[in-house]
Every structure is written in C-alpha cells, then in structure tokens.
Point group: C2
C-alpha cells in the first residue's frame, strides 16, 4: 500500500456529511481510509463507521477505525488505529485478533515498541506543524521521519502531521510509503480533487 | 441478587483512590459492583477496571463495567452496562457473547425493548432527583418504578437515582431487588459504613 492515508474526522469536514466527504475522497483516490471520531455516542460512531465501511468496500480500499477495537469489529473494518493512551496492541489483539493494528508513534522508542508488539503499520509524526489536533506532540521533521522508516524494517510508516500537496515530495523522499491527511481533505472545498492531487503526488505521479 | 448495586465513579470519590473506595464498599457489603468511568484514557480505565475486578473477586461480588464491552472483556468483568446512546445489546452480544448485559432505561418502552433484546438486568430511573449525572433524565418516582418491576417479568430491576438510606424502604416496597448508589457511597466520609447501612436497608435487615 502506498500513497494517501485519508483520515475522515466528522469535526474536520467543514460541516458536511462525513460519509459524503469520504465518498469524494474515495473517488479522488487513497490507499487506506480511516475514521477518526473523537466525539459522538457509540451508536453514532458505529453508524458512521458502517457507512464508511460500505463506501470503502465499493472502492476496494482498506478501512480503519480509530481507538476502538469493539467498534472496528462491529463495523467490519480491516483494522483499528490506536494512540499511545489507547489500548496497547496486545490488549487489542486479545479481543480482536482478526484486526490489523496501527499505532501512532512520536519517537523511535515508541515506534520500535509498537513494531515489537506486532503493529501492522505505524504512524509517525507530527512531521510538520498541524492544526488538526488540540494538543499536538512536538514536530519530528523529515530527517527523523526518514530514520523512522529505516527503523521500521519494512513495516509501513504513515507520515502524519501538516502534510499537504507542497510537502508531498519531501515526504516521499523519506521513503515513507504512506502519508496521512485530515484537514487538507475534509476542509477542502473539493475533497475529491484534494485527495486525487495528494494521492498522486505521494505516489510520485504527475498530475 | 438483592441489595446494593454499588457504582464506583472516579469523579465521585471525593478525590480518593477509586480502588480503595471500592474496597471499602466491598467490606461494607454490596450485591454487585460497577465501574462507571466517563473520563480518562482507555489505558487508565482498563487499569482501574482490573483493580476493581481483583477486589470484587476477593469478595465474590459480580463486577460490571459501564459502556464498553471491549474493556469489560479485557478486565474479565461479569457484565457490561450500557445506556441508551451506547452500543445496543445485540451489538454488545455480537462481540462479547459471554458478558451479561445491563441496560439503563428511563421509561417502560425502553425497559421492554431492553428485555426483549436480552438484557440480563435493567436500570430504571432516576427514581428521585440526582446530582450524579450532569444531564439527568426526568424523575420517574416510586410508582413508575413499581410498574417497571412488574413489566420486567422477573428480570432484575435496579432502581437508580438519588437513592439514600432514607429512601431504601420506599424502594424496597416497589419490589425492585436492587438499588444503585454512587455519590452516597463514594462521597461519604466512610464508604464502608455507608455501603453496609444501605445494603442492609435494601435487604430489609435491621442495622
């Protein structure tokens, strides 16, 4: 898997229906689509996860739910993505052995720990400054991203944090196969075009 | 099971260690102990749930986790208790078939739906005015509680909302086998004595 790791956050969709934003992103193109839902009741999040699961399936795109293995299982997602304060990988695998588990990491020690615990994929960042998180971790930059890619030993690294079209080439040069975007998709006036351009740029294709 | 359904909420422990508060309640006596954790990271909640599971096991008391079947499974709880906005019973049972499922209900329609869906236990309330919830549902009173007990057809009903020692006799007269308490235990200067007195009063034993 290479290219755009598209993250749909209902709070970062400029007030539009997140399922429609996801549909537009999928038309534009992405390698993986993740739901990032930090608010809303479990029923609401599950309903949204299922809507996104249906859309991703139409496009043959893997679907990931953040934080919650139970909701990921119920939505028939391919994976769950957890942060450092969420359930550890070993716990996730106990209750959801069929899920791929991605982990957000912010330094090489966290990255190595995640891979040692069996992560299928590791996020690494924030690579650049970001406004998508209320309390972002310190910026890591592209040199440390490149070091993370080397340290990951083949486990896919998702560059995350402040990644837009202008940064795509620099991210690609680090060897990171995937790069995540939230606001530059969901808050774009044209999420389909934004996804298409960013996915292509990350793949190194000319537009 | 009859008597006190003790709910431990870390935010309603007067700043004390919730595991110590739980231990005191268990020494005093209760029929079931539930963790109610609305804040904190999943890792923190799981650690607390496991601490409470260990304490309840020492006393042979069933242990329930609120809202989250994944955390309930990982903590080896006996059950999970869900509200009307949490996962529906059918979804909980899909991912956690071994858990007993309790459901909070606030009117007879919700109570009947929960029992129809296979609830092991139903909460009903708030019976009296309560300060434990930020946005409480309308007070139902003891007459409607008695109607709920009749409608439940043998499924245990947990009276909840503003229940203290002075209300125990009125609750018992409705036929509800269990009554929940949060603040009157966790915010008591002596949770052990508070639990002992309330559990006995609910059982109709003289102190």
């Amino acid at each position: 898997v290479r290219g755009l790791y598209a993250i749909v956050d209902p709070e970062r969709c400029a007030g539009r229906d997140p399922a429609l934003v996801a549909a537009a992103i999928l038309r534009g193109g992405c390698a993986i689509l993740q739901l990032r839902a930090k608010k809303g009741s479990d029923r609401e999040v599950l309903a949204l996860a299922r809507a996104l699961r249906a859309r991703t399936r139409e496009h043959g795109v893997p679907f990931v739910v953040n934080d919650r293995p139970d909701l990921a299982l119920l939505a028939d997602a391919d994976g769950v993505h957890v942060g450092q304060d969420d359930l550890p990988i070993a716990e996730v695998k106990r209750i959801a052995p069929r899920l791929e588990v991605g982990v957000s990491t912010h330094d090489l020690a966290q990255l190595r720990a995640a891979i040692g615990a069996g992560a299928s994929l590791v996020g690494f960042g924030p690579v650049f400054a970001t406004a998508s998180k209320d309390r972002p971790d310190p910026v890591v930059g592209t040199d440390r991203l490149a070091a993370a890619v080397r340290a990951a030993g083949g486990v896919p690294v998702v560059a995350i944090g402040g990644i837009d079209l202008g940064a795509a080439a620099r991210v690609r040069e680090t060897g990171a196969p995937l790069a995540a975007a939230i606001r530059s998709l969901g808050e774009s006036s044209d999420p389909e075009a934004a996804a298409r351009a960013l996915h292509r740029a990350l793949l190194g294709e000319t537009a």
